[in-house]
Symmetry: C2
Subunit: 356 residues, 2 copies
């Protein structure tokens, strides 16, 4: 695939959540259709996609039919089973590519990749059993955090270890899954760089945003982040280094800790990212369109920021604030159309333009 996708072409999206939904909407602006593949019933992206396949990732026939119906495949989450990717890749290009998935699907592989690139991360250690945890705790110390190497999100699959005595309980929580111990780092703030790379190797980054988490879930992202110009430049160069090393095509979310020792990479996500939602109302081309442009072989768009923005996630009952939010000036509402409100479930977000 070297020509830009033209009107009427179809992008396949693995995953039918809110990210797939907003990717579909962005693709429609470029005249492209989307076909969503999602095991769960009634996915939010299905309301706006041209087609939906409801099937598990183990259904080879469904995967093959899906791949045959689309021009390129992308995804809204990184934990796609490897066998499914093998089936799809034989029939259709997948962007971002397999290397990005391989690296980001496993926290240990990811941290090793980053340190091999010369980037800094929090101290970490491979944990295979109680003994390796004991040894790692002697080096990394407490408090620290034990995480499953794979399949964690929004604080799930994580156990905080405040004292060495809590090690046994923490490893219990991993339920035998391979794990990684991460040291805590002192940081003044957490920021995200939403970076994009096109098929021809051009890289563009949105301005870094500053993130506030609570209970392991992102609450707000504010742009601009409180950074010096030097830090801003470092953040962008560092993100570009990661994308280039992976020969990446698409948008990536790069979470960084701002520390006295410089920027530490917390996590990379090979997809559009919650901390980039502010771009919908702060930029002419948002992260979703930027990702679609990259995946569809278009030139990257102009991601320059024209406003200060605070993105706030609407989680669970936050939806009750809707009547009030709808009357706020300078506030754009983005809801995901999810049927059931559950505690901790991301139901939507708002982007507030901050007037100087």
């Amino acid at each position: 695939m070297t020509e830009p996708l033209r009107q009427g072409a179809t992008i396949g999206i693995l995953g039918g959540g809110q990210l797939g939904r907003m990717l579909s909407v962005a693709a429609s602006r470029l005249g492209l259709r989307c076909h969503v593949y999602e095991p769960g019933e009634a996915p939010p992206a299905g309301h706006v996609a041209d087609a939906v396949t409801t099937a598990p990732y183990e259904d080879t026939a469904a995967l093959e039919a899906f791949a045959a119906s689309v021009d390129v495949i992308t995804y809204e989450f990184e934990n796609i089973p490897t066998a499914a990717l093998d089936t799809l890749q034989a029939l259709c290009p997948i962007r971002p590519g397999r290397e990005a998935l391989r690296v980001s699907q496993d926290r240990l592989t990811e941290k090793t990749f980053l340190t091999d690139l010369g980037l800094k991360t929090a101290p970490f250690a491979d944990i295979t059993d109680a003994e390796s945890l004991t040894q790692a705790l002697e080096i990394i110390g407490t408090p620290s955090i034990l995480k499953t190497r794979r399949f964690g999100y929004d604080g799930k699959g994580q156990a905080r270890i405040n004292t060495p005595e809590e090690a046994a309980a923490a490893i219990e929580e991993m339920r035998g899954a391979p794990a990684i111990l991460e040291g805590f780092v002192e940081f003044s703030c957490e920021i995200s760089v939403i970076a994009a790379r096109s098929a021809d190797g051009a890289v563009a980054c949105f301005d870094p945003g500053e993130n506030i988490h609570s209970e392991g879930i992102l609450r707000t992202t504010t742009v601009p982040a409180r950074l010096s110009q030097a830090q801003r430049t470092d953040a962008v160069l560092l993100a570009a280094k990661i994308l280039n090393a992976l020969n990446y095509v698409g948008v990536m979310g790069v979470e960084l800790f701002v520390t006295p020792q410089g920027l530490l990479v917390n996590e990379i996500a090979p997809r559009v990212h919650n901390s980039g939602h502010w771009t919908q109302n702060g930029c002419t081309i948002d992260q979703f369109e930027q990702h679609i442009r990259a995946v569809a072989n278009w030139p990257l768009g102009d991601g320059s920021r024209f406003a200060d923005v605070q993105m706030e996630n609407l989680i669970g009952d936050d939806l009750d604030k809707l009547p009030e939010l709808a009357t706020e000036a300078d506030t754009a509402i983005h809801l995901y159309g999810k049927d059931a409100v559950k505690a901790g479930r991301k139901m939507g977000h708002v982007n507030r333009i901050i007037r100087g």
Copy 2:
């Protein structure tokens, strides 16, 4: 219907063209689904709507099933057959209401409504036959323009009369349809006010845009329009007067001529309007979301403009400029996903942010 529509509710849209498409996308931002009713095969709005009914407006069973499946009905064009509206209205509220459709479906009714409101229009006369045209030409003079009273758009169903001798040919072109003769007016420019009114009677207007037409088709809209502050105020008050008189709910496009004698109303369209597309990249809430908010009983959004914008339609072969447009900074592309490129067919538009 007095409560705001909640997540998962469905808006029915009559018409599956680009306006229905962009309305669907806007509705998705508010967590709402759309069901498009369109007689033509493969409508552009179908790529992004949750459901599509393909059936003619004469299919009562299809209309009834459609009405039963949605919470409120709106439309992207005004020329919906009256019988279809009767069927739908018995089952589901239609917004904007019937009065706006009755007035705007007929150029003579519309002009009479406007002048009864005390607003100025170009001189006009009811034309039923050759004799009434001869009489009208004596008063209105030439050049003037003969138009069918109903079903005209983008310059179709119109005949320009440069001299009285051309009257016979012009009336021939009407093919027996009731017609209206309109005098030409000297104007310095044509502007549009995109005005919105909510169910509780609140009115909000976007900044007037300045339109350039060619061959009867809108080419560009630029905001801000070249208007004095007094003209700007007049334009907004005049639009509000129209919406209030119709007890209107939704967005309306009001085209005005700027003349030495003040503002003349050229045309009203009871729907989102091509000349309001700039709001997608110049405002936090665009005309499409504003319309959905009104129709869904939400409070109107903040339509304040944060940038100067020029909207340019991509018509027919203009699509060939796409590779270049995609590399322009500050330019947002909006394509409609139409399969066939035809001369005079609106294929998309671009919004260019104008930096000071």
